[in-house]
Amino acid sequence: MKRLSLLDGYRDAGLAQRLESKIKRLGEEIGRDLLIMHVCGSHEWTITHHGVRSLLPRSVEVRAGPGCPVCVTPAADIDAAVELALDGKTVLTYGDMSRARGSKQSLTEAKTLGADVRIVYSVHDAVKIAKSRPEREFVFFAVGFETTAPATAYEILQEPPPNLRFLTCYRYVPAAVEAVSRSPDLRVDGFINAGHASTITGMKAYKTCFDLCRKPMVFSGFEPLDVLISVAMILTQIRNDRPEMQNEYTRSVTWEGNLKAQKTMREVFDLRDGYWRGVAVIPNSGLDLKTKFSHLDAREHYKLTQEQQNADFVKDARCADVIIGKIDPPECPFYMKECMPASPLGPTMVSAEGTCKIWADHRIISAMSCRT
């Protein structure tokens, strides 16, 4: 069983140690505490799983920002999906999404009440299932970032079966990075940008944000060495006082991105304001179905009235602060006490891309224990 040659060397321990020394030297030269934020659950997994934080000097903190699509899906949308499922429609969605609770329950819980909820791996599976049962009504609960949206756009352009409708809740990452970079509560010194989302949009989608914030931005891959290299690139920029947009993930990210995917996405979705669960309405951060596809829109078809007032989180739980990267999971009073992977109180403990779930799976109980 052989690994792909594409990734040869990306887990080279010797090179990792040499990068560790370089990062240490850079940290000493800079001589102040630094906060680097990444915005992707997959980065958090790589960093935690491979113990990348233990290789960084104490003055360099890498923290997870808003990079978990399940976590930012508003409770109101989950409530709408649950309502449709309890009303007799078959709701199709991704595994993690089915376990995240809205203001009352999750789709999985609705299933125990008799609702028909099915887990799919891709939107194509949803299309196939709907085609196989033309007499039933299906709703695909479509969540994710621009990484996922093009596939749904593609299926919508292929004229999906008339018994399948879409409850879309796509969010656009560049807008979130901009919001984080403007936040007065977070003094972020540099960004590790999401390699897969920016594979679609290209680096160009972040140009406006970079011009506004002038913080180092490195587009990074997902192997442990990718992250170490990205940290070294950010620290070098800080030391030289020359912030730049730099590409570490050159094997996938380009300046222009995947133009075919962008075109497909643009044909189907419009960028509008989007609400990020418990965080804020972020301008131009929601990918909504264009009006010409309103016949496929579950909100239109089922006349769903959605209010953002639905309670997003359990009282006193700090899911929103974890999502935005204001705190690490152990700072929440419920982390690994009332809230655990087997009995999650919030979405960040449900999704495989949620920071709380990733930390819990790696038995991290305090923010310091993942350091040296």
Binding site: H124, G144, P150, A151, Y154, H196, I200, A232, A352
Partner: protein, 87 residues
């Protein structure tokens, strides 16, 4: 490719064969999957693709992957030599 697949996870794989919009892709370590939709990219067999939730979202550049590493090896070697001769 692990059984548990979450939303932004994407995996690199090598395209074995293409039939219309769909391809057979080798993800390494013994995992081969059929039915990967390649209509969002322009790809040929033998090339690497990045696959997310059943769809190839990018053709990956194998040469770039090795270039990044050799570039960093060179920088580090240069710096380490400079540092040790400065001592």
């Amino acid at each position: 490719m692990p059984a548990k697949v979450s939303m932004c996870l994407a995996f690199p794989g090598r395209v074995l064969t293409i039939d219309g919009d769909f391809a057979r892709v080798d993800f390494g370590e013994g995992t081969v999957r059929e039915g990967i939709n390649v209509s969002l990219v322009e790809v040929k067999p033998e090339q690497y693709v990045l696959v997310h939730a059943g769809y190839a979202i990018q053709v990956m550049d194998e040469k770039e992957a090795q270039k990044t590493l050799s570039y960093w090896r060179e920088i580090l070697t240069y710096e380490e030599e400079t540092n040790s001769s400065a001592r």
